[in-house]
C-alpha cells in the first residue's frame, strides 16, 4: 500500500500549479467573476495547448487518454486557484458522457473540438428547483414526427452562454421514468439562457428554458431512456472531481492563513502564538490532511476502475464540509481584513459554498452512504 504520487503525477501537479499561478492569478479570477464570458478564452487556448482539455479523451480523438488520477490532479490545482472556467462542464460532464455513450458520429463531431479548445460543452441535468435525481429532471421530451420537442427549465447550467452544446437530460413524455440525454445546440430555436448572479460570479451559471426545442434522434446520446444510468455512472467522477477541487482550495486557504498568522503581530506577538489560534489552525489542518487522503483515494479507486460510488460519496461529504469549515476558521482567525474584497480569502469561501451545494451537499451524499450500509 502506498499513498505516494508517481513522478509523472508530481510533475503534472507542479506544472499545473505553476501555470495557474502565472496565468490565472487572483486578479484575473476577480475579473472573470464579473466577465460576461465567465472564463478566459486566452487561458482556455493555453490549456488546450497543454493537453489539459483532452487529458481524459481517447487518443483516437486527439486526446491523451490519461487515467482519472491525472484529471483529478488538474481539478485539485484548479481548486487551488479558485479558477472559474468551463473545464468541469466540458471535460468532465461533456467529455465522459460523450466518450462513454455517444455514437461515433457525435464523438467525432465534438471530442476533437473539445481537445483543441474549440468547443465548450455543458450539461443540464437537474430541475427548475435545483434538485438532483432521477425524479428531478426539469426537461420533458415529446416525440413529434420522428423528432423530439424539448420543453422545461433547469436552474443551474454552468457556462451555458459560451457553450456550443448543452447535454440535456429529459424525461420522455411517453415513459414516466425514462430519462434520455440529448445533445442540444446552444443556438437552437426556443432555448434561452439567463445569467444568474451567484455568490461565485455573475456570468458563470445560467438558468435555461426550453420551449419546444426541436432535436433530431441522432442527437440522442447513447440509448433512449438510459440517460440516467449514464449520469449515475459518472456521478462518482463528478463528485470526486469536486472533492479534489475542494482539497486544492482548502490547502491554499491553509497556506495563506498560516502565513498571515505567523506574520501578523497583535498583543506584541504573532497571532500564531495564541494557543486558541493554534488549536483552531490545527482543526483546519486536520481537515485538510484528512481530506487530501480521502479525495485521492476516491480518485485512485476510479482510476483503477473499481466500484467507487461509496468512496466518492464519502469523499464529497467529507471534503466539501471540510473546505467550508476551513474557510470559516480562516475568517475567524484572520479577522476583518479577511472580510474585504481585496483579500483573496473570500474567493475560496464562495467557491467552497458553491462546491458544497452543486451536485448535492453532505446530507445528500450521506444518503448514498446510508444506502450502502444497508440502512
Amino acid at each position: 500500500m502506498n499513498f505516494n504520487f508517481s513522478k509523472d503525477q508530481i510533475i503534472l501537479r507542479k506544472s499545473a500549479r505553476e501555470f495557474i499561478k502565472k496565468e490565472i492569478p487572483a486578479s484575473l479570477v476577480r475579473e472573470l467573476l464579473v466577465d460576461e464570458k465567465g472564463y478566459s478564452p486566452k487561458v482556455w487556448e493555453k490549456m488546450a495547448e497543454l493537453g489539459w482539455l483532452g487529458i481524459a479523451i481517447d487518443e483516437e480523438f486527439g486526446g491523451i487518454g490519461a487515467d482519472f488520477m491525472d484529471l483529478a490532479i488538474l481539478f485539485e490545482e484548479l481548486g487551488r486557484g479558485a479558477v472559474p472556467s468551463p473545464f468541469f462542464s466540458t471535460v468532465l460532464l461533456g467529455g465522459f458522457l460523450l466518450q462513454n455513450h455517444a455514437s461515433e458520429e457525435l464523438k467525432n463531431r465534438y471530442l476533437p473540438k473539445i481537445v483543441e479548445g474549440k468547443s465548450i460543452i455543458t450539461a443540464a441535468i437537474s430541475d427548475e428547483k435545483g434538485f438532483y435525481g432521477k425524479n428531478h429532471v426539469g426537461i420533458t421530451a415529446k416525440n413529434s414526427n420522428g423528432s423530439y420537442l424539448l420543453s422545461g427549465s433547469v436552474l443551474f447550467v454552468s457556462h451555458a452562454n459560451v457553450s456550443d452544446m448543452i447535454i440535456c437530460a429529459a424525461k420522455m413524455d411517453s415513459n414516466n421514468t425514462g430519462i434520455t440525454l440529448f445533445a442540444v445546440d446552444r443556438k437552437a430555436k426556443g432555448l434561452t439562457a439567463t445569467p444568474l448572479k451567484t455568490i461565485f460570479g455573475n456570468y458563470i451559471d445560467y438558468s435555461i428554458a426550453l420551449d419546444n426545442v426541436m432535436v433530431s434522434p441522432e442527437m440522442i446520446i447513447g440509448e433512449e431512456c438510459k440517460g440516467w444510468d449514464y449520469i449515475e455512472k459518472i456521478w462518482p467522477l463528478i463528485i470526486t472531481a469536486q472533492s479534489c477541487e475542494c482539497v486544492g482550495g482548502m490547502q491554499k486557504v491553509m497556506d495563506m492563513t498560516r502565513d498571515y498568522l505567523n506574520g501578523r503581530i497583535q498583543f506584541g506577538k504573532p497571532l500564531s502564538a495564541l494557543q486558541i489560534v493554534q488549536h483552531m489552525s490545527v482543526d483546519m489542518f486536520t481537515k485538510v490532511e484528512t481530506s487530501k487522503l480521502t479525495a485521492h483515494s476516491a480518485a485512485w479507486s476510479i482510476s483503477e476502475g473499481l466500484d467507487s460510488e461509496n468512496e466518492a460519496a464519502i469523499a464529497k461529504s467529507w471534503c466539501a464540509e471540510a473546505y467550508k469549515d476551513v474557510t470559516k476558521i480562516a475568517h475567524q482567525v484572520t479577522g476583518a481584513i479577511g472580510f474585504t474584497e481585496e483579500y483573496d480569502l473570500h474567493l475560496y469561501t464562495k467557491s467552497a459554498k458553491k462546491l458544497e451545494l452543486l451536485f448535492g451537499d453532505g446530507a445528500y451524499q450521506r444518503k448514498v452512504v446510508a444506502d450502502k450500509l444497508g440502512l
Binding site: F131, F200, Q332, A336, T349, E356
Partner: protein
C-alpha cells in the same frame, strides 16, 4: 420572577409594530428586506424621533424618555425585524448618547444630545487600526496637544459608515511618555468628519458592498472641548461603551428575515410531492435553530434587565453577543444548504428567492463573529470577569 411585559410595554410593542406596518406601506422610506445593512435615512429617523423612540432609555434630564433598556429592546427588535432604515440614529442611540451622558462635558451634552434625539446628527466609530484589531491598546493614531487644540495624525480602519456620518467617535493616543501604562495613554475625542485633513477611502467587503472605510488623518485640528471625559481615560471609557454595544438584541434579530425565509421555503417547497418541512432531518435542523434562537432571545432580554437594574453586564453582554452571532452563522449556513442551489443566488439575480437574502447573509456571516469583539476576545473577557479563572 415575572417574564411578562407590563401593560405599558405591550402597548409600546403594539404601537411600534403598527407604526412600522403603516409607514412601511407608504414606500417613502428605504426599508430593506433584511437589516444587515444599517441604511441611513435621516427622514425615517426623524419620524422615530417625533415619537420619542430615539433615546427612550436616556434619563429625562437629558431629554430622553427615562424609560428602560427593556423598552429600547422592544423597539429595536421590531425595527430590525421590519428591516427599517435605522442607520442614521443607530449609534447615537445605542452608545454615543449614553457615552456622552456618562462621561461628556456640559458643552458636549448641550452640543449633541438634543440633536441626537432629533435625529439631526449621525456618528461613526474610529477605533480599529491596521495594526490594532483585537488589540486596541496598540492604536497608533496620535492626538498631540497644541494650545486649545489636538492635532491628529494617523489612520483608522473598518469604519462603518465613515463616509456618511457627521461625527466620528475616536480613540486616540494622547500620552507619549514611555512611562505611561498603555491603558492610560488614550483619550476619546469627537471628530467632525468634514474637518480638513480627513481623507476617507472606501473598503469594499466580500459581499461587494461599501460599508467600511479607511480614514486617514493628516494634521487634523480638533478643539479640546471635543475631548470626551478625562484625558487618559479613553481606554476604560471605551470598555464600558462596548458593553452597551454588545448588550443589544441586534446580533440576534438582524437575520430574522433569513430565518423567516428558510421556514417559508421548507413549508412551500415540495420534493417528490412532500413538503421539505416533513423531512425529519430538516425538521431537526430547523428546530435546533429555533431552540437556539429562543434561548438567545431570552438571554438578551435578561442582559437588558441587568442594564435596567443599573448593572454593567460586562461578561453577560459578551456571552449574549457570542451566543447570538454563532447562532447567526449557523442559520445562514443551514439556510443555504437546505435551499440548495437557490441558496447560491444573490440579490437582483433572475430566479432569486426571498430577494437573495439567504446567500447574502451567508457572505456576511464571517463578520458576525468578529465585529464588536471577536468570539475569542470575548471569551477572554468571560473567562476573566465571568468565570474568574486564574490567568497566572
Amino acid at each position: 420572577m415575572d417574564l411578562r411585559l407590563t401593560e405599558a410595554q405591550s402597548k409600546l410593542q403594539k404601537e411600534i409594530r403598527d407604526f412600522l406596518e403603516s409607514i412601511k406601506k407608504t414606500g417613502e422610506y428605504p426599508f430593506t428586506n433584511d437589516s444587515l445593512q444599517l441604511v441611513f435615512s435621516p427622514e425615517f429617523s426623524q419620524r422615530l424621533a417625533e415619537k420619542g423612540w430615539i433615546g427612550i432609555a436616556w434619563p429625562k434630564e437629558f431629554g430622553g424618555q427615562g424609560a428602560g433598556y427593556l423598552e429600547r429592546c422592544i423597539i429595536l427588535e421590531e425595527l430590525l425585524k421590519s428591516g427599517a432604515p435605522v442607520g442614521y440614529h443607530y449609534l447615537a442611540d445605542r452608545q454615543v448618547g449614553p457615552g456622552i451622558i456618562h462621561f461628556g462635558s456640559d458643552f458636549l451634552k448641550d452640543e449633541f444630545l438634543q440633536k441626537m434625539l432629533n435625529a439631526q446628527v449621525s456618528f461613526c466609530l474610529l477605533f480599529s487600526e491596521p495594526n490594532a484589531g483585537s488589540d486596541l491598546a496598540a492604536c497608533e493614531t496620535t492626538a498631540v496637544e497644541e494650545g486649545d487644540y489636538f492635532i491628529i495624525n494617523g489612520q483608522k480602519t473598518w469604519t462603518s459608515h465613515g463616509h456618511s456620518a457627521d461625527y466620528g467617535w475616536g480613540l486616540m493616543r494622547t500620552s507619549f511618555d514611555s512611562g505611561t501604562p498603555r491603558h492610560n495613554a488614550f483619550s476619546e475625542i469627537l471628530i467632525n468628519m468634514k474637518t480638513p485633513g480627513i481623507i476617507i477611502r472606501p473598503v469594499i467587503n466580500m459581499v461587494g458592498l461599501h460599508s467600511f472605510n479607511e480614514v486617514f488623518f493628516d494634521n487634523v485640528k480638533i478643539h479640546k472641548k471635543y475631548l470626551i471625559g478625562e484625558k487618559g481615560n479613553g481606554f476604560r471609557q471605551i470598555m464600558t461603551n462596548l458593553v452597551y454595544e454588545r448588550a443589544t438584541i441586534d446580533r440576534l434579530i438582524q437575520n430574522y428575515s433569513t430565518k423567516e425565509a428558510l421556514f417559508e421555503y421548507v413549508k412551500n417547497t415540495e420534493k417528490n410531492g412532500v413538503p421539505l418541512s416533513k423531512d425529519p432531518l430538516i425538521r431537526d435542523g430547523l428546530a435546533r435553530l429555533e431552540v437556539e434562537f429562543q434561548v438567545g432571545r431570552k438571554y438578551i432580554y435578561y442582559v437588558t434587565t441587568l442594564l435596567d437594574d443599573g448593572k454593567i453586564p460586562d461578561y453577560e453582554a459578551a456571552i449574549g453577543k457570542n451566543f447570538c452571532t454563532l447562532f447567526e452563522a449557523k442559520l445562514s449556513d443551514l439556510a443555504t444548504n437546505i435551499m440548495g442551489l437557490h441558496g447560491l443566488i444573490m440579490p437582483e439575480s433572475p430566479e432569486v428567492l426571498f430577494k437573495g437574502i439567504v446567500a447574502e447573509s451567508y457572505l456576511m456571516s464571517p463578520s458576525y463573529t468578529l465585529q464588536g469583539g471577536s468570539v475569542e476576545i470575548l471569551k477572554n473577557i468571560i473567562s476573566k470577569r465571568g468565570l474568574k479563572l486564574a490567568s497566572k
